[in-house]
Amino acid sequence: MSFRKLSLGLAVATLVGGAALPAFAQDSVYVPLFTYRTGPFAGSGIYIADGMHDYLQMLNERDGGIGGVKLALEECETGYDTKKGVECYESVKGKNPVVVNPWSTGITLPLIPRASVDKIPILSMAYGLSASARGDIFPWIFNPPATYWDGMSMIVKYIGEKEGGLEKLKGKTIGFLHLDAAFGKEPIPLLNELAKTYGFEVKLYPVAAQDMQNQSSQWLSVRRDRPDYMIMWGWGSMNGAAVKEAVRSGYPMDKFYSVWWPSEDDARAGGAGAKGFKMLNWHSVGADLPALKDIQKHVVDKGLSKAPKDSVGTLLYNRGVYNSLLIAEAIATAQKLTGKKVVTGEDVRRGMENIKLDPARLKELGLEGFTGGMELTCSDHNSHSPAFMQEWDGTKWVKISEPIQPMTEQVRAQLDAAAKDYAEKNPGWPKRTEACDKAS
């Protein structure tokens, strides 16, 4: 075959293939899923990707989509790489996505200014820029159900309560082990502020991405500084390696806390010594709920999922389900608000601002008791919902606390200042012109 014929063949194939693609825009709602099934962060990313995909796929299989409209799902592999994530965004934005989930704080940050221009809502579920919770300043960004600052305040509050009151933290030292990236640094301003308020000292232990599995230096420093408590903000293979190193270095695991990202695998990596390791969470683990059983029946059993059977119901799988629950609710709410079946990004932004998940709605969705109630409004794009503490018992996570409310007063002041600062530092940051629905 000559080069010319080959080129012609390729061009025809591209045209034919291309012609088959726009089915997305006509009779379905296009939902791109930014995922990372490869690379150093795949250990966390695979579970999330499976959970996100399978819930939406289940709605397609069981209900024919949402409101009678199929969801056109398409994954874009980011590898947790900001550059690739932005490329994914550029590649999907022309296909009328109703929402984008970056699944990385690093990817979220450059998308924030683009969202309002492209009219695509960004859902950075419990990650991203904490200040973007302010709907009046960031109408296109949503980060429910809690910001990283809320999470940090909950951990400090829990530790304070264990000590017998926040004032008892005076003179204590809290070590902060974090990925040395936008995500890991996000809660540091709040932690420093809380340290000033309550008189404790903060020791920072940054872990570079290339040293995620080589943390002996950080844990030697922990041994030198003897912090009374350790808080971790890690992702991917950093979490499992940190739990292992904590056990190896003899750090008391009952004083080792994490934000909501470690998985069962991460805790298991520490072996029997990891018992007592604690983390925040806001939804249940396990696959006993009707919606999760439906995922098993309509998706996994039919071979429509990439997830192995036993991963349904694991912590991060369910986190992915929660993410898709928000997407689905936003779409359904947008359909109600607009009366349209095939909604757009602008409609779904309105839908997001009117999400109301209460026990009755969760029951209706087959997710009774899956998570606490949550409501977003025009001005509050986060809800600042409480989370609970769970502990690794050697084989599984066990819930050990009632819901912990974030320290709203401290967080709110910081958040308002940061949101204002963001708008000021980005000249021409648009004033909100999007109308608020009466309901929100």
């Binding site: 690379g39 795949a42 695979i46 570079a208 290339q210 599995q213 080589n214 230096s217 293979s237």
Partner: protein, 318 residues
């Protein structure tokens, strides 16, 4: 003045006040150093034989460890899986020689270097296709690698020695010793040195270039497997491990690209240097200095020995 005190006095005062922590830091540095040396050794072997900087050495560490763990998870007994992983590294060496190196004989070194880039990304994709991207636990128990900790009261404090770290240091040392003897005392070793000096001259005295390349890539594969087992046992087997291989770069800069003793001494200097630096001087700048400190140490050495500690001094007549 305060900053000068913090840089030049305080760390040493602290070393004197807490000698147990100094000893612990030195131990951790030595263990890391031995493991860095092991990874660097893989680079050195291939560079000596073909003048190629094998960018794929890092992914070979991950790939070999994944084969071992993956086979075990499929029900293959641990030591048979180990044997099969060794066999897989031999197959890889043969494939690389046949598909990558042989067609590129006499091409500029940069072309061969770029070919190892290609090999890296192929192995990443192939590995993820077969084994998935999730991290796996090394089969430490099944391989009878020791677990647990010995705590020794020393120098007025306590020093913890992980049994796994001791085993890693011993196994890596034996491995390095065997390879050093093999490549310096045997006929194959002499052939390797001849190939390293000149491909054409080696061919003219009847040395099979292809055979030497297979042997060397296989040896580098075994080294990668051992490094993968040891790092994997310490912190899990995942694709993030391949990034650790970048730690071998300052080791090579320091020790020289062609010297086995250089890889060992370089590994130890970098391992100990970065741990001491991070532990005693890191807090001055908020920590996290070890990623670049290793390169600073290597560059400082280069000021005095541009060819590295043990690298060959090349004099070209003009």
């Amino acid at each position: 003045m305060d900053i000068l005190y913090k840089i030049f006095i305080e760390p040493f005062v602290f070393m004197g006040e807490a000698p147990d922590l100094l000893l612990q830091t030195l131990w951790e540095g030595l263990v890391s150093g031995v493991l860095y040396a092991l990874i660097a050794l893989g680079f050195v072997l291939i560079f000596k034989a073909s003048g190629v900087f094998n960018f794929a050495q890092g992914i070979m560490v991950v790939f070999s460890a994944l084969i071992l763990v993956g086979l075990y998870e499929k029900g293959v007994p641990a030591f048979l899986a180990l044997l099969l992983a060794v066999g897989a590294m031999l197959l890889l060496a043969m494939a690389v020689e046949r598909v990558v190196l042989r067609p590129l004989v006499n091409q500029p070194d940069i072309i061969l270097f770029m070919a190892t880039f290609g090999l890296t990304y192929f192995l990443i994709g192939f590995g993820e296709l077969i084994f998935g991207g999730s991290p796996k636990e090394m089969i430490t128990d099944a391989l009878y690698l020791p677990q647990g900790t010995t705590e020794v009261d020393l120098l007025g404090g306590m020093v913890r020695f992980q049994h796994l770290d001791i085993a890693a240091a011993v196994i890596a040392s034996i491995m390095i010793g065997v390879l050093a003897v093999f490549f310096s005392k045997t006929r194959i070793g002499r052939a390797l040195r001849a190939v390293a000096d000149s491909h054409k001259a080696a061919l003219s005295v009847g040395i099979s270039l292809n055979q030497i390349w297979v042997i060397v890539w296989f040896a580098a594969g075994i080294v990668a497997l051992v490094a993968g087992i040891m790092w994997g046992a310490r912190s899990g087997v995942s694709f993030a491990l391949q990034i650790i291989a970048l730690k071998a770069l300052p080791v090579l800069i320091l020790g020289g690209f062609t010297s086995i003793p250089g890889a060992i001494i370089g590994g130890l200097i970098i391992g100990v240097g970065e741990k001491l630096g991070e532990f005693y001087w890191g807090p001055l700048v908020g920590g996290g200095i070890e990623t670049w400190l290793a390169y600073v140490i290597a560059l400082l050495f280069l000021l005095y020995r541009p060819q590295g500690l043990f690298g060959e001094k090349i004099i070209e007549r003009i």
